[in-house]
Amino acid sequence: MAASKLVEGLKRLPGGDRALLKGFVGMAVLALGLGLVYGAVTAFARAGFITLEPDVAYPILTLHGVTAFFYWLYFIQAGLVLILVATYTAGVERLVWSPLAWLGLGLMVAGFGLSELMPILGAVMLYDGQPELIGYEMTKGGFFYLGYLLLSLGLFLVGVSSISTALKPRFEGKVQTWSAISFASVAWAGLLMVSAVAAINAFLPAALWAFGLGPAPSAYAMSWSVLFHNVHYLPLMATVLLWYVLVEEMVGVKSIFGERFSKIVFCLYLIFVPPTSLYHMFLEPGLSDAVKVLGSLLSLFIGVPTVLVFLIIVASLEAHARAHGGRGLFGWVRMLPWRNPAMAAIGMAVVNLALGGAFSFVLIQEKLAPLLSDTFFVPGYFHFLTLGTVTLTFIAMLMYVIPGLTGRPLWNPSLLAKLPYVTTFGLLIFGGAGLTAGYLGVPRRLFDVSYGGQAPEIWGTLMFVVGIGAVFMTVALALYVFGLVRTLFERVSEAGAETTNLAVVSWGGIAVGRQAAWVGPLSVLVLIACMYVFTALGFELMQSLPVSVTGGHGD
């Protein structure tokens, strides 16, 4: 069995660097666990399984967003970007400026503490920290923003350390070019730093205002939209990069299209993501028609790099599988090491990305924003992405990273290999009911959808079904967290046995020649067909409403 490049790379790092990375990973798993608890309570309350008063429910909803979206996703990204530059960049022996990264971890932990505490103490501003909701809790609101500012500063420092680590071997003349993974990791680190600056731009004026040191933030909604757009695409870019890494780990396959092509595709994220934030603002009063149309048009390109990476990976896998005897249109898929929990996780991540992606393209059409924005359509589709795609992929990566850092084999791989299917099953229920609810107008960020009996009865039924889906998602994620914690803290370690309990195949090192790869293209065609159907459904529904809207300012 070939040695894991990732695990061997981690084992080579000095003890101090390994301790730092364990810190990031440990905090990430803690945030994931807490985010899961808050999310489960939120979903169960919306479903009517439990009853929460608003003064309890909305702080928990705030904490779910804060913990899962910001701290889970950013602790894990900070740790993984350091890990990738340290283990996949030729010539790197240790992290550069690791004290900066330690300081970054400390700031992020401090920020985490503040962001967790303030909603409990009364700063219930949802995870986007809307200044309008601060009420009389100005100081607590200020500390809430301060939590985000510390997170941002910490991320910035981690980015500096990551890029410096990748640059050092080049400055020393040890390497002439980066691998595609190193290249993409540096881009990832750079975007983390850009996002940190965007966060400071959004939260610093709000914090100063809350502490009585400045005027009320005048353009918070705009600043938030720019920040949010970048921070919610970063994990997706990281996800496709990690698919590269994990496929190489588990199947031994590299891109058949060459490293240069992969680098160009990763660059497309830098080109297409930043200018496409307009679609988050389609429902904002006063946005001109030209801006809305332009926003829709630009947003069409946002899926291009992700689809390209998907095609590169699937085509590379299929061509190699066929070179190893794979037959039939889908027969080769069975040859993949599905008993490996990381393989199962990224396999389901691809499925969930297709589902979430198809529905997300409904929302980028500005004419459909008045039908779907601010409805449960939004959480209905984005959980396919945040949980089903990004989180499953990050967890898959942790199944290699934690054994590499601790020397302990992964806890119960056979059980963990089943969890992606449970998660996806739950997501199908959650998302199916949630998206339907969205089409029908059920609002997001609301616990009692009955409106005193005025709302359609089906709203409550759909929320109940959403809760059923959340049960499956909760069980699967809870087992994941348990397994990761057990692997982190198990007393016994066994050098050399870290990943021997994870099934792999080795298809690399052979010429694939003229092998065909049709599954990727066919999958993309199905995806596009789904986009057409779901978008057309939105238009048809919009046109069937017994109301016509014939004008107004801005129209």
Binding site: P54, G441, P443, F447, Y451, G520, T550, H553
Partner: protein, 219 residues
């Protein structure tokens, strides 16, 4: 599946050009948008022209009116149109005065773009009836609004304390309206079927958010 090699020995499905073209395939969704009239087929939109055949599906707003001015106009509207049961039924004739006042106000306010008819100061039979809606924690004024079918109503909505929604549910779907605090949001709506419709807040505004609703009766 036939495996047809291309000229340089690679199958077409494993060529960079093929996957690149396919990757950009998602952009083809534009064709569906255009078919529904939801996207322009030229760059006319850049010069400010209407974007397509599905006109007015969005809603707009202006920040030029102060909350004080809005409240003055809204109070006049409520006073003129409130029925004995507390509900509000805007009438064309009664609203005309308010409409003219609003028009006068709008013409004087920077950033307020009024319609061509407004600028001429003319009143037309088919001019939309102006309806004022005031949103504040945790309710709307009016909380019951009585309207007629097939009559255009120009909704002038302001959230006077915090961000709110003023969305309307039609059972098979909703019309979402987001109102930023102290910013005038306008939309011209014409209800085409009688019924009782729930109007509800779709932007979290505080602990009473769940109870923030009103009723629109179209008869």
């Amino acid at each position: 599946m036939a495996e047809k090699p291309d000229f340089d020995g690679k199958h077409v499905t494993t060529r960079r050009g093929f996957v690149t073209v396919l990757g950009f395939g998602v952009v083809s969704l534009y064709g569906l948008w255009a078919a529904y009239g939801a996207a322009p087929t030229s760059l006319a939109f850049m010069s400010g022209a209407e974007g397509g055949g599905m006109k007015g599906m969005g809603h707009g707003g202006e920040g030029g009116m102060s909350p004080e001015e809005f409240n003055r106009l809204a109070d006049a509207f409520f006073e003129a149109n409130t029925l004995p049961d507390g509900s509000v039924r805007p009438a064309r004739r009664e609203v005309a005065g308010v409409s003219a006042e609003a028009r006068e106000h709008g013409a004087a306010m920077p950033g307020m773009s009024m319609s061509e008819e407004d600028e001429h100061g003319d009143e037309h039979e088919d001019e939309p009836v102006i309806v004022y809606v005031r949103a504040s924690r945790y309710g709307y004024e009016p909380d019951v609004l009585r309207l007629e079918p097939d009559v255009p109503y120009k909704f002038r909505i302001m959230a006077v304390d915090a961000d709110h929604g003023a969305s309307i549910n039609f059972r098979m779907g909703s019309r979402m309206i987001r109102c930023r605090a102290r910013t005038l949001t306008e939309a011209i709506l014409m209800f085409t079927a009688p019924g009782e419709y729930l109007s509800y807040c779709t932007v979290y505004c505080g602990e009473g958010h769940d109870q923030m609703m009103a009723k629109i009766v179209v008869a």
